[in-house]
């Protein structure tokens, strides 16, 4: 039986030098999934997770809402339009942006102890 220990998101935000784009920032995250393909996220991401992507258009919010994803981290300093941030606020999804690349961000998240739901420990 796999036990997910939620990781405090404040710690992660500091590590990633991330900037929150929405007012609401989640307390904790249960896991992480990284992909830029929407259907891939729909297939593999789980509720309560952090999703790391370079996609910034409004479908990101739709996909995140569809899977009850808690937060989305945009890498390489990408930022969605204000309209999309507002939609995320409405859906209760936190948006963050980091200057790090997806690879660097993934490394830091792993080091901090955040694991994917499908990790094979």
């Amino acid at each position: 039986m796999k036990i997910q220990i939620p990781v405090k998101s404040r710690t992660l935000i500091a590590l990633l030098q991330a900037e929150p784009l929405t007012d609401a920032v989640p307390e904790a995250l249960t896991g992480c999934y990284i992909s830029d393909l929407l259907s891939d996220v729909l297939a593999h991401a789980g509720p309560g997770m952090l999703w790391v992507t370079i996609q910034t258009h409004r479908n990101v919010v739709s996909v995140a809402a569809t899977k009850d994803i808690t937060a989305v981290l945009f890498t390489c300093g990408r930022k969605p339009e204000a309209e999309i941030v507002a939609e995320a606020e409405q859906e209760g999804i936190a948006l963050l942006t980091t200057p790090l690349t997806t690879y660097e961000a993934a490394g830091k998240l792993w080091e901090a102890g955040l694991r994917g739901e499908n990790d094979h420990e």
């Binding site: 830029d36 393909l37 929407l38 259907s39 891939d40 729909l42 297939a43 509720p47 992507t53 996609q55 258009h57 409004r58 479908n59 990101v60 919010v61 739709s62 996909v63 809402a65 569809t66 899977k67 009850d68």
Partner: protein, 320 residues
């Protein structure tokens, strides 16, 4: 109520026959419910002629005789006929009336009253209350009339109750069934997820299991984006019923050339723009299949593609 258990006993004592409403009524209803009241008595000193006129006026077949508030006799239509025949119609009633009258108590059940009619063969009984006061007169006709009246009332109540049930059932179904129908335009990437969003909201409001909600949301989202990316335009119809969610995606073409191929993960015909937006992973139909409890897809180049996915809300069993 001492009579109700008697029914249960007789029905339970190996007699599986159903007890009819009329049978229940003859036990439940009392003599006081059926009798003619107030009684119109005469005095023993009244002449038979006077009593004959009373009978004619009120259409009675028998008149109780009261003396000092006590029932002392009865004069029946047969007594009057005999008096006319034998020429003593002007005699006072006390000379010819029946004394030792058999009466019924007002609290007797109609069942008991019927038994008394059978036992004595009389056409009527005076009815006394527990203080021996005359309170009415009862005939077989009164019993029949009373039963008919109550049967009619029960039938009306049953019909009214049924109508209320039917109405509330229709209300329930209407409340539980929600149809979201939306037109989906080709290339309208910004609108992707609109139908799915409304469906998710309804399912969340209804407290539907989050895992089931997410599966339905994936199906609706993928079906919607398929129309946007691949079709000439179409429609999404989401029906949320009490037991299942049905998601239908209907487009006007051009149809899927090879459905088996389209069901393979990674296979996609999406163009450059949708791919840049993160669509076209070749996972749409496989995702829909994985999240559906039942999936049918039909497609041809003339009529386009019809996709129908069912997701059961109570996974333990199929929809009832």
């Amino acid at each position: 109520m001492t009579t109700a258990p008697a029914i249960e006993q007789s029905a339970g004592a190996g007699d599986a026959r159903k007890v009819s409403v009329a049978q229940v009524l003859v036990y439940e209803l009392r003599v006081r419910d059926a009798m003619s009241s107030p009684p119109i008595p005469a005095s023993p000193s009244d002449s038979l002629r006077k009593i004959q006129l009373m009978m004619k006026e009120h259409r009675f077949s028998g008149v109780p005789m009261i003396e000092n508030g006590t029932l002392v006799g009865i004069v029946t239509i047969e007594d009057i006929i005999r008096a006319l025949d034998q020429g003593h119609i002007n005699d006072p009633a006390e000379r010819w009336m029946h004394r030792n009258v058999v009466s019924l108590r007002d609290h007797f059940s109609l069942m008991r009253a019927v038994a008394e009619f059978d036992r004595h063969g009389f056409g009527r009984f005076p009815v006394l209350d527990s203080d021996n006061r005359l309170v009415g007169v009862i005939t077989r006709g009164d019993i029949t009339g009373c039963l008919m009246h109550h049967l009619e009332r029960r039938a009306e109540e049953a019909l009214a109750h049924e109508a209320v049930l039917r109405a509330s059932r229709a209300d329930d179904e209407a409340a539980q069934r929600l149809v979201v129908r939306a037109h989906v335009r080709t290339g309208d990437y910004d609108s992707a997820g609109k139908v799915s969003q409304r469906m998710r909201q309804v399912m969340r409001d209804r407290g539907i299991d989050p895992e089931i909600r997410r599966r339905a949301a994936v199906v609706a989202y993928e079906a919607e984006t398929n129309i946007i990316i691949h079709s000439l335009g179409g429609e999404i119809i989401v029906t949320i019923g009490p037991d299942l969610v049905v998601i239908e995606a209907i487009d006007t073409g051009p149809g899927i050339e090879n459905i088996d191929q389209a069901m393979q993960e990674g296979w996609s015909t999406a163009g450059r723009l949708p791919r840049e937006l993160g669509f076209g992973a070749g996972m749409g139909l496989p995702n829909i299949k994985r999240c559906s409890d039942k999936l049918t897809i039909t497609s041809d180049s003339k009529r386009g593609t019809r996709l129908r996915s069912e997701i059961y809300l109570h996974p333990a069993g199929a929809p009832s």
